[in-house]
C-alpha cells in the first residue's frame, strides 16, 4: 500500500511540474503583449518599454520561469500584472466562491445520479426506466450555460426565489451566501448527473446479473437488500472513475457558469486574466487547476484501492 501511494505521489509531482513548464511556454508563445494591452492604442514606445522594465518582462525567459516556479513551490505565486496585488490575495476570496460551488454541484450530481441510476436499474425495462433515462438523455444534451439562463428566467426573474446574478459573500450568514450558489450549482451539476446517472444504471445492471447477486438472493435476501448491500457497492468503481473524470469538466464548467452568473470565483479570474494577458496570473491559475485535477485523480486511485484491495496489492 505504501509503495503504491508513494509511486502515485511521485508521478503527481512530476506531472504537475511538466504541466507548469507547458503552461509557462504556452504563455510565452501566446501573441499579445500585456504592456501594450494596458497602455492602449495611443501609447508611446518608451512608455511601453518602461512598463516592461517595471513588470520584469525584459528578463530572459528561463530566469522568469525559475523565479516563478521557485515562488510557486513555497506558495508565493507572484504579483498580478493587471491588479498589482499578490496573486495569493486574489485567490483567497475566490476559492470561497468556487470551492463551495464545485462541492455543491458535485454533491447534487452524485446524489441525483445515484438515485436515478439505481432506480432505473431496479426498474429495468419498465416505463419508469424509460422515462427517467429519457430525461437523463435530454440532460446530457443540454449545455450548462443554456440551462443556467433558463433557471435565471424562471427562478430569479419570474419567481424571485434566488438572485439573478452576483455573490453577496458569506459575511451575512451561510444561507445568504448559499442562495446565490444554488442556481449555478444546479446548472453545473444536473448535466453531470445525467451522464453519471446513465453510468450508474448500466454498472448496477451489470452487477445485478452477476452470480453473487443470485447467491445473495438464494440466501434469502430481499431484492432491495441485494441491490443496496451487494449490487450498488460493487458497481461503484466505474462510478468513482467517472466522478474523477467529471471533476475536470466541473472545473472547466465553473469558468462558463461563473461568467453567466457573474460570480467572482476562480473561473472568472482565469477568463479575465487570459483576456488581459495577465501572464503570471494565468500560468499560476492554470497550473493550480492542473494540480488539483491531478490530485483528484490521485485520490480516486486511493479510493479504488479502498474499494478493491486487489488494485493496490497488485500495484496496478
Amino acid at each position: 500500500m505504501i509503495s503504491f501511494v508513494g509511486g502515485r505521489l511521485v508521478s503527481l509531482i512530476l506531472t504537475t511540474l511538466v504541466a507548469s513548464v507547458i503552461v509557462f511556454l504556452l504563455m510565452q508563445v501566446l501573441p499579445g503583449d500585456p504592456a501594450v494591452l494596458m497602455l492602449g492604442l495611443n501609447a508611446d514606445a518608451d512608455a511601453i518599454a518602461a512598463l516592461h522594465r517595471q513588470l520584469g518582462l525584459d528578463q530572459p525567459i528561463w530566469i522568469r520561469y525559475l523565479h516563478w516556479i521557485g515562488g510557486f513551490v513555497v506558495g508565493d505565486f507572484g504579483t498580478s500584472l493587471t491588479y498589482s496585488v499578490p496573486i495569493r490575495e486574489l485567490l483567497g476570496p475566490r476559492i470561497l466562491v468556487t470551492l463551495p460551488l464545485a462541492l455543491l454541484s458535485m454533491a447534487i450530481s452524485v446524489v441525483v445520479a445515484i438515485a436515478i441510476g439505481v432506480y432505473a436499474a431496479a426498474n429495468r425495462g419498465k416505463a419508469a426506466d424509460t422515462i427517467v433515462m429519457g430525461v437523463a438523455q435530454v440532460g446530457v444534451a443540454v449545455p450548462n450555460f443554456w440551462l443556467a439562463l433558463l433557471f435565471i428566467l424562471l427562478f430569479a426573474l419570474k419567481l424571485a426565489w434566488f438572485p439573478a446574478s452576483g455573490f453577496s459573500g458569506w459575511q451575512d450568514g451561510i444561507w445568504i451566501g448559499l442562495r446565490s450558489l444554488i442556481l449555478p450549482a444546479l446548472a453545473l451539476g444536473l448535466p453531470l448527473a445525467a451522464i453519471l446517472g446513465r453510468v450508474t444504471r448500466s454498472a448496477v445492471i451489470e452487477t445485478l446479473g452477476e452470480d453473487f447477486i443470485r447467491t445473495a438472493r438464494a440466501k434469502g435476501l430481499t431484492r432491495a437488500g441485494a441491490l443496496w448491500k451487494h449490487a450498488v457497492p460493487n458497481a461503484l468503481i466505474p462510478v468513482v472513475t467517472i466522478i474523477g473524470l467529471q471533476f475536470s469538466f466541473l472545473l472547466a464548467g465553473t469558468i462558463i457558469i461563473e461568467n453567466v452568473f457573474n460570480l467572482p470565483g476562480i473561473g472568472r479570474l482565469v477568463f479575465q486574466a487570459i483576456a488581459q494577458r495577465d501572464l503570471v496570473t494565468v500560468q499560476t491559475l492554470v497550473t493550480l487547476l492542473a494540480a488539483s485535477v491531478i490530485t483528484i485523480n490521485f485520490l480516486v486511485d486511493l479510493v479504488y484501492g479502498y474499494l478493491d484491495p486487489r488494485l493496490s496489492r497488485g500495484g496496478h
Binding site: L30, P31, G32, D33, P34, V36, L37, M38, L39, G40, L41, N42, A43, D44, D46, A47, A50, L51, R53, Q54, T82, Y83, S84, V85, L90, P93, R94, L149, I152, A156, L157, A160, P163, A164, S165, G166, F167, G169, N259, V260, F261, N262, P264, G265, R268, L269, Q272, A275, Q276, R277, D278
Partner: protein, 490 residues
C-alpha cells in the same frame, strides 16, 4: 399665531426629514472590471468610468456637452505667443489623505508623466510641455515648446489628473485623489465602492456611497437590471436586449452618443487599398444605416469622417459616399481591380464580430470577396496594431478629438498624406477658437475625401436606470461615468 408657528415648525421637520428618507446610495453596473484604479498608468476605459470626476481631478475637466471647464484651476491666462499657460489654482483643496494641493503637486504630476520611466498611456499629450514652474504655491506656470491649440483639452483627459507624490505609487490599488468621492473598497472580480468625501472643496456629492458592480455577460447584466440588483447601467452593451427595459415601468432608457468612432480601417500601405478609388468603392458598397440597425438595433448615428457628433466642430459628411453598389463596382473597374478579395480582422466586441458579417454580405453585392477572421483583442494589438499585418479590420477609436492619428508618421493603417499633415499642423498652431473650429472642419473634409478608413458610425451610449435616479450623463464625450450630480428623486 401659535398655530402658524406650529405649522411652520412641522413644515421644517418634514422638509428636513424628506431628504433623509430618499435613498442616497447607488449600485451602478459596468461591463468590465478596471485593471487597477490609476488613470495615469493604464488606458482602459473602465479606470476612467470609476475615477474621472468622481475620485481624481485635473486642473480642468470635460463636462457632458464636451466642453472644457475649470476644476482645480480656477482660471488661467495664455501668453500672446500661445506658449505660456498661467493657472490660478483653487485654494483649500486637500487630497483624501489630507495632503494639501498646491503648485508642487501640479509640477510633480506633469513631470512624472513626461519622465523617462513614465508609464502614462497618453504620454504624447504631455509631450509639448517644456517645463512647469511654481512662482507661488497658488500659481502654476506651464511653458510649452510650441503652441498647442488642444493643450487645455488634453489636460482635461483622465490621464492628466493631479496625483500627490506621497500616494502616487499606490494609486493602482488604493487611489487617493481630490474628488467628491473617496475610495472605500475593491472586492476584486465583484465591485468597487466609493464613499462621499465629507471634506470636498466644492459642491458635495449628493450620494453617500456609489458601488460599481462588474457584470460582463450581457444576459446576466440584463437580468440584474430587471431584478433591481443594479440601479443603473450607464453603458449597456447589448442593444438587442434594450426592448425588455422599455416595457418595464420602473426603468428608463437613455440613448446618447460617445466619442467612439467605429471604422473599417484599411491598410493604406497594402495594394490595392493604397488606391483612393478602391477605398471609395468600399465606402459606397456599405449601407451604414442598415449596419447600425444590425449591430446596435438602430442606436448610434452614422458618421462620414473620423469625428463624432459629440465632439466640438462636428460637420455632417454622411452623404459623401451614399450606399451605391453599382458605383462601387464602377470605381473598382476604373482602378483596374478585378475580383478583389480581402480579409477583415474582427476583435471580440459585437460591433466588430456582428458588423463584420453584415459588411461581408454588403461587399459581396459589389463583387468583393471577404474572408472574416475573428481575433482576440491581445492578438489584434500585436498583429494588426503593432505589426500592421492586415488588409482591413473593424475597430472603435474611443479617444475624443483624435484627428492627430491621421497625421502620425507611423500608425497601423499607414495613412501618409502631406496635405493632411500640414493642415493638422496649422490646427495645432491656431490661436483663436474660431480658427481652430474652422480647421477641425477642414480636417474632417480632407479625411472624408481621402477615405483612408471607411467611417461607419459613432458608438452609442445606451444607458438604462431606475426612473427615480437623476443626474446621470446621456452623452459621453470622454470616457467617464460621472456620479457627482447623481441623486434619487422622492
Amino acid at each position: 399665531m401659535n398655530l402658524t408657528k406650529w405649522a411652520l415648525a412641522s413644515c421644517f421637520i418634514v422638509a428636513s426629514l424628506a431628504p433623509a428618507m430618499a435613498k442616497d446610495t447607488i449600485t451602478v453596473g459596468q461591463v468590465l472590471e478596471p485593471p487597477g484604479l490609476d488613470p495615469t498608468a493604464g488606458a482602459a476605459a473602465p479606470i476612467r468610468y470609476i475615477t474621472y470626476g468622481n475620485l481624481f481631478e485635473g486642473l480642468v475637466r470635460v463636462v457632458e456637452d464636451g466642453t472644457v471647464k475649470p476644476l482645480l484651476a480656477e482660471s488661467w491666462t495664455v501668453s500672446d505667443d500661445q506658449k505660456t499657460y498661467s493657472f490660478k489654482l483653487r485654494q483649500g483643496v486637500k487630497f483624501h489623505d489630507g495632503t494639501p494641493f498646491d503648485c508642487s503637486v501640479v509640477k510633480f504630476s506633469y513631470e512624472r508623466a513626461i519622465s523617462a520611466d513614465s508609464t502614462n498611456a497618453q504620454k504624447g499629450l504631455f509631450e509639448p510641455i517644456e517645463k512647469t514652474e511654481c512662482p507661488d504655491p497658488a500659481t502654476a506656470v506651464v511653458t510649452l515648446k510650441r503652441p498647442a491649440s488642444n493643450f487645455l483639452f488634453n489636460m482635461a483627459w483622465g490621464d492628466a489628473v493631479m496625483i500627490a507624490p506621497s500616494s502616487a505609487a499606490d494609486n493602482k490599488t488604493k487611489p487617493v485623489g481630490t474628488g467628491p468621492f473617496k475610495f472605500k473598497e475593491w472586492a476584486k472580480g465583484d465591485k468597487v465602492v466609493l464613499e462621499k468625501n465629507a471634506e470636498y472643496w466644492g459642491d458635495p456629492a449628493k450620494l453617500s456611497e456609489v458601488t460599481f458592480k462588474f457584470i460582463s455577460d450581457p444576459s446576466a447584466a440584463a437580468a440584474a437590471v430587471l431584478a433591481g440588483n443594479v440601479d443603473a447601467f450607464p453603458m449597456f452593451q447589448a442593444a438587442e436586449l434594450v426592448s425588455q427595459f422599455e416595457s418595464d415601468p420602473n426603468l428608463q432608457v437613455e440613448v446618447g452618443s460617445t466619442s467612439g468612432k467605429v471604422v473599417l480601417a484599411l491598410n493604406n500601405a497594402r495594394k490595392p487599398f493604397d488606391d483612393v478609388r478602391v477605398r471609395q468603392a468600399i465606402a459606397h458598397a456599405i449601407d451604414r444605416k442598415t449596419l447600425v440597425e444590425g449591430t446596435y438595433s438602430g442606436f448610434g448615428s452614422t458618421i462620414g469622417s473620423h469625428y463624432s457628433p459629440v465632439e466640438p466642430g462636428y460637420i455632417d459628411l454622411n452623404e459623401t459616399y451614399p450606399y451605391d453598389p453599382a458605383k462601387a463596382q464602377q470605381l473598382l473597374q476604373e482602378a483596374g481591380v478585378e475580383g478583389l478579395e480581402m480579409t477583415i480582422m474582427l476583435p471580440p466586441p459585437a460591433y466588430a464580430r456582428r458588423g463584420g458579417e453584415i459588411i461581408a454580405a454588403m461587399l459581396s453585392e459589389a463583387g468583393i470577396k471577404v474572408n472574416l477572421v475573428p481575433i482576440e483583442f491581445a492578438q489584434w494589438l500585436d498583429q494588426v496594431f503593432k505589426n500592421s499585418d492586415f488588409d482591413a479590420t473593424i475597430i472603435a477609436h474611443a479617444e475624443a478629438r483624435d484627428l492627430d492619428i491621421y497625421a502620425r508618421d507611423k500608425y497601423y493603417f499607414n495613412y501618409q498624406n502631406p496635405e493632411y499633415k500640414a493642415l493638422y499642423k496649422s490646427f495645432t498652431l491656431a490661436s483663436t477658437e474660431a480658427v481652430q473650429l474652422d480647421l477641425v472642419g477642414q480636417l474632417q473634409r480632407k479625411l472624408a475625401a481621402d477615405e483612408p478608413n471607411v467611417f461607419l458610425y459613432a458608438l452609442p451610449k445606451i444607458g438604462v436606470w431606475n426612473k427615480k435616479v437623476k443626474g446621470l450623463w446621456t452623452n459621453m464625450p470622454v470616457p467617464a461615468d460621472d456620479q457627482t450630480q447623481t441623486y434619487w428623486e422622492n
